[in-house]
């Protein structure tokens, strides 16, 4: 499977370096290595979700309880989580850190991913959620640190879009 194992490891290491101790996730192809890394890590609380919006609630609970968390999902999962993001994370000022695999962009071969790919950034803009792309391994650690810092300082959601060139070995 051409999902990048080395880059998944770099992302996982950066999450650990930030002190993330709980990861909620609804897997998709690009995220499989990250889920395995979390599963094999005894220090990480991995929550496999039935639907992504649950992860917004779980991260809110973790934050109030003093544990740093992140939500890992596909961009279609972001679309499915919007009410939770607005009515919980934004309303209650939760520093929700979202790692979102950006399917349906340039290079996408699956027709069913393309609509979501086309609207993801517009939706983030409409929600006033700051975001950056992670497109190369050098982006990962610094941008994750910056995203986490902004989320904590603003007490608001921040998103990192995992790009094809980082996650997929074409």
């Amino acid at each position: 499977m051409p999902v990048s194992a080395p880059n998944s490891q770099i992302i996982y290491d950066a999450l650990k370096a930030l002190g993330i101790r709980l990861l909620s996730v609804l897997p998709e192809t690009w995220l499989v290595h990250l889920v395995t890394l979390a599963e094999e890590d005894p220090e990480m609380i991995l929550v496999r979700l039935a639907k992504e919006e649950e992860g917004v609630g779980i991260s809110a609970g973790a934050h109030l309880a003093g544990v740093k968390s992140a939500l890992l999902m596909q961009n279609h999962g972001l679309l499915a989580s919007i009410n939770g993001i607005v009515s919980l994370a934004q309303l209650y000022r939760i520093p929700l850190l979202m790692l979102v695999s950006h399917r349906g962009g340039f290079g996408e071969e699956h027709p069913w991913q393309t609509e979501g790919g086309g609207v993801t950034e517009h939706v983030l803009d409409a929600l006033r959620i700051p975001y950056l792309f992670l497109d190369s391994p050098e982006h990962v650690a610094p941008r994750l640190r910056q995203a986490s810092a902004l989320a904590e300082a603003s007490l608001k959601p921040v998103a990192l879009l995992l790009g094809r060139s980082l996650m997929w070995e074409d």
Partner: protein, 198 residues
């Protein structure tokens, strides 16, 4: 059974727990019985009370967490039952007040529990190890005390009348509640882990 009476029946134990409520009239009724620092009222975000409770329960296994949910809210996040059952936090009791309607918008807006959907059976089928349906204050008080004593993930469905208080008003802004609750959980941190996340 009135929900406010049901809440009153379990209030002595609730007041010692970390409680996350759903939206609607239930938080106003709980608040009217007496606010505690460990109570968090989740206005809006319909359906997510059980997920917030799970996040707290997994993050802080030493805390006893209670989620106050409703039939309409739980039906909006049914997958949460499967996630709760999957991780089975033994420090979480899930109380679902089932009045068979979306009361906030009026008694005529029934939920599927009015036509036979059995939420306790659904929780059991999802894998929640301890479930019950309670129809009186005594039944609920006993089931709730047993669930706390068993220290086991439990979903207790309390069938209540579709009656609420006159107003949703709580004299505690949701952000005030949020920061107060977070500060309280921080203060409850075991001394041994001072400075660390656990």
């Amino acid at each position: 059974m009135l929900r406010v009476d049901a809440l009153r029946a379990i209030y002595p134990e609730l007041s010692r727990c970390i409680v996350v409520t759903n939206m609607g009239f239930a938080p106003a009724e709980l608040f009217s019985l007496g606010h505690q620092q460990g109570f968090f009222y989740l206005w809006h975000s319909m359906g997510l009370a059980s997920s917030v409770g799970l996040g707290i329960a997994l993050s802080r296994p030493e805390l006893q967490v209670v989620v106050i949910d409703g039939d309409g809210s739980l039906l909006m996040n049914l997958g949460s039952l499967t996630t709760l059952a999957r991780y089975q936090p033994c420090n979480l009791v899930h109380v679902v007040f089932d009045n068979e309607v979306l009361l906030s918008v009026g008694r005529s807006f029934t939920t599927a529990t009015a036509t036979g959907t059995d939420l306790a059976a659904m929780a059991a089928a999802a894998g929640v190890p301890r479930t019950a349906t309670c129809r009186t204050e005594d039944e609920l008080a006993r089931a709730f005390a047993d669930a706390l004593a068993a220290h086991e993930l439990s979903t207790l469905v309390a069938k209540v009348d579709p009656v609420g208080p006159a107003s949703y008003f709580i004299d505690l802004h949701y952000l005030e509640s949020r920061f107060q609750f977070q500060r309280y959980l921080r203060q409850l941190r075991p001394a041994a882990s001072e400075g660390g996340p656990d």
